[in-house]
């Protein structure tokens, strides 16, 4: 792995990747949550938290890093942005390609309404100003997977501008110490995706599959308001959740539906921004933060050693864990932007400006789309905390796993148990089992109804909590039995017969007089021994608190 990576740190964050030679990351300087003017928990828009070198070096001064992102999200639509061929992940090569996608002469782009709606909804969710008029342009460059020789995009006037994205980072050791940061959204634009190239170096050729060519993309440009890999990764994660909640993109990085490019530079606080590099090919959530942090450190190292940073494009090499310059792009690219001559301006309306008598299929009403916006993740998390009294980090955890929130809500609906109990069981036991076997919520052998039934039994005190865990394990084996059946089969019911319990307690006390004496002499742990003995006698079917109560009563009489 590359040279020591932690000579600076993003305040208050433990890094997930391996550290070479450094201890745990500590903060130096004021914690970012409470900035020097004492405002805690407020969004810090233009404030760059100071990143301090961990080990004092010559003339130890601080470095600040600046990270901007360009995120491309594939729009979840049936057909492509400008043609009627299908959008689908895995299909035989070149089977989802129309004549337009292959750029055959005489074909023309026809805009997909659904893609426009997706862009508007995303813009609204990110608090952007929606441009009532936006324009399409051609961006020219030559590459085999771009059959037309240009990409249709929105360079002059994109569909949405000037929004913001809020995300939470933890600033202390405890997960509860969270602070909200915002990053400004510069713009959102609609553009075409390119095809896929498979490089065959052996035969010195490239194989081209145009299935992806022409799929609608939302490019979301985030201003350089972030200062480290963790902030960038968190912002991307939040954007992912928003897109998924809106349904505008499935935003699955593994399937290439969400791709991130980072613009990174470092400078001394107070001095102007440094030269930036662009890091492409950040297509894994796991490596996003790592790659950005590596590049920041590389730039710091370079500058501290008297070198300089080139304004270049780099790529993250996952195997080596470092950024490498991409094949030289032969100087600055000149994309020769020009207006797309085949597409008139895109006009959007609101309820006030809707042209009367217009075909509803041909007009897009921003107000109607705003009304139909689903609940955003931030609002959902706040609602969960309010409604069920859970901690913020629990609501985060519920939203962080696909399908977990729905599972949780199904259980809540069917059970009488307290929400706190449900939260605990879902996040600890249920999620624990899933993670252990690397399963998705949809693959769970335990249904929400089964868990609800189990929690009811627990709530009624029909079984003890340790018995409940046993039942859960049985349920996980998915042999088709209900919790009630398992309880009956394994005789896990709590002893309801008070008489029998009294008997057992009395006989235990009689059988172990030395322990009783021990207790009477003031040894507090003796009672636990007695409780344990009674429990064994009841084959684990008695509730320890009940046993304790009976024993204490019997002993005092």
């Amino acid at each position: 792995m590359a040279a020591p990576m932690l000579r600076w740190c993003c305040p208050g964050r433990r890094f997930a990747f391996t550290r070479v030679g450094c201890g745990s990351c500590h903060r130096r300087g004021p914690p970012t949550g409470s900035t020097s003017n004492g405002k805690r928990g407020q969004s810090t828009v233009a404030q760059q938290p100071h990143i301090t070198a961990q080990k004092p070096r010559k003339g130890e001064r601080e470095w600040a890093a600046v990270v901007g992102l360009e995120i491309h999200a594939q729009i979840a639509s049936n057909s492509k942005l400008f043609s009627g061929s299908q959008v689908h992940f895995a299909a035989p090569p070149n089977s989802l390609v129309s004549f337009f996608d292959a750029s055959l002469p005489g074909t023309l782009p026809v805009l997909n309404r659904r893609c426009v709606e997706a862009a508007v909804m995303t813009g609204l969710a990110l608090d952007c100003h929606i441009n009532r008029k936006s324009l399409f342009d051609r961006k020219h460059y030559f590459y085999a997977d771009l059959p037309a020789g240009y990409q249709i995009t929105q360079q002059r006037l994109p569909i949405a501008v000037n929004g913001s994205l809020a995300y939470s980072v933890s600033v202390g050791r405890k997960p509860s110490q969270m602070v909200t940061r915002t990053v400004r959204v510069k713009q959102i634009q609609l553009e075409q995706d390119s095809g896929k190239s498979l490089h065959d170096d052996l035969r010195s050729q490239t194989l081209i599959d145009l299935n992806r060519a022409g799929i609608g993309l939302l490019e979301v440009v985030l201003e350089p308001d972030m200062s480290c890999g963790e902030e960038a990764a968190t912002a991307v994660r939040e954007l992912q959740l928003i897109l998924q909640a809106l349904g505008t993109s499935q935003a699955n990085m593994a399937e290439g539906q969400l791709r991130v490019d980072a613009n990174i530079s470092v400078h001394r606080p107070g001095e102007p921004l440094g030269v930036r590099t662009e890091v492409k090919n950040l297509n894994s959530a796991r490596f996003l933060a790592r790659a950005i942090d590596y590049e920041i450190q590389r730039q710091i190292n370079e500058l501290e050693n008297g070198g300089e940073i080139l304004n270049e494009t780099r790529s993250f090499d996952y195997k080596l864990g470092c950024t490498v310059p991409m094949r030289d792009k032969e100087g600055k690219q000149d994309y020769r932007f020009m207006p797309e001559p085949n597409l008139p301006p895109l006009l959007l309306y609101d309820s006030g400006s809707l042209p009367s008598g217009a075909d509803p299929q041909q007009v897009i009403d921003i107000d109607r789309l705003r009304e139909r916006l689903p609940e955003l993740p931030r609002v959902t998390r706040e609602r969960l905390v309010r409604q069920y009294g859970m901690l913020p980090e629990h609501s985060c955890a519920l939203l962080n796993e696909v399908g977990l929130l729905e599972f949780f809500q199904s259980v809540i609906k069917e059970t009488r148990a307290e929400p706190k109990k449900v939260t605990s069981w879902v996040l600890n036991t249920f999620l624990g089992f899933l993670k252990q076997q690397n399963l998705a919520v949809s693959e769970s052998p335990v249904t929400p109804s089964a868990l609800a039934e189990l929690l009811d039994l627990l709530d009624r005190k029909a079984i003890s909590s340790s018995a409940a865990k046993q039942v859960f394990e049985e349920l996980w084996r998915n042999e088709g039995k209900t919790p009630a059946q398992i309880v009956a089969e394994k005789k896990l019911e709590l002893l309801q017969d008070l008489e029998a319990l009294e008997q057992l307690c009395r006989s235990t006390l009689e059988a172990h007089p030395h322990v009783v004496m021990d207790l009477k002499r003031g040894n507090p742990r003796a009672i636990n021994k007695l409780i344990g003995l009674v429990r064994k006698a009841t084959l684990g079917r008695a509730d320890p608190t009940a046993i304790k109560e009976v024993l204490e009563r019997q002993l005092s009489s």
Binding site: L207, E330, P344
Partner: protein
């Protein structure tokens, strides 16, 4: 192609607005340097392989320069000649595709339903190998 676009714009502009006010000629005679030709060839992958081609380019630039004679103060530029048209919105239905065989027929080389292209991008060195052409 862009010469035609220029032609259209010129026609639209000349369609009876203000008279031709003469502006100072800003560029002199559009001389195209060898460096510029190289740059253009690299960008467009169009081969300006002859004197004649460069001369034609210079004439086209001179032709377009006549636009500067038109006073466009306070006139909002057009985006395209379609800007007053309605942008048609298509419903999100799958109506095309599934014609791999047909499309692949257009390709010089095919490997298992993939188009075959030369590796990476067009190598700049290949372009340099062409015989040098006397630039101005």
């Amino acid at each position: 192609m862009w010469a035609r676009a220029v032609h259209l714009c010129l026609r639209a502009a000349a369609r009876g607005r203000r008279g031709f006010t003469s502006k100072a000629d800003p560029q002199g005679s559009g001389r195209v340097t060898g460096e510029l030709i190289q740059h253009l060839e690299r960008l467009s992958l169009v081969d300006f392989g002859s004197q004649e081609a460069v001369a034609r380019l210079e004439k086209a630039i001179a032709f377009a320069d006549r636009l500067r004679a038109v006073n466009t103060d306070g006139v909002e530029p057009m985006e395209s000649v379609l800007e007053d048209r309605c942008l048609y919105l298509r419903s999100d239905n799958v109506v095309e595709g599934n014609c791999a065989e047909e499309l692949l027929q257009n390709s010089h080389r095919v490997v298992e339903e993939y188009f075959v292209a030369p590796p990476g991008n067009i190598s700049w060195s290949k372009l340099d190998e062409k015989q040098p052409f006397p630039h101005h």
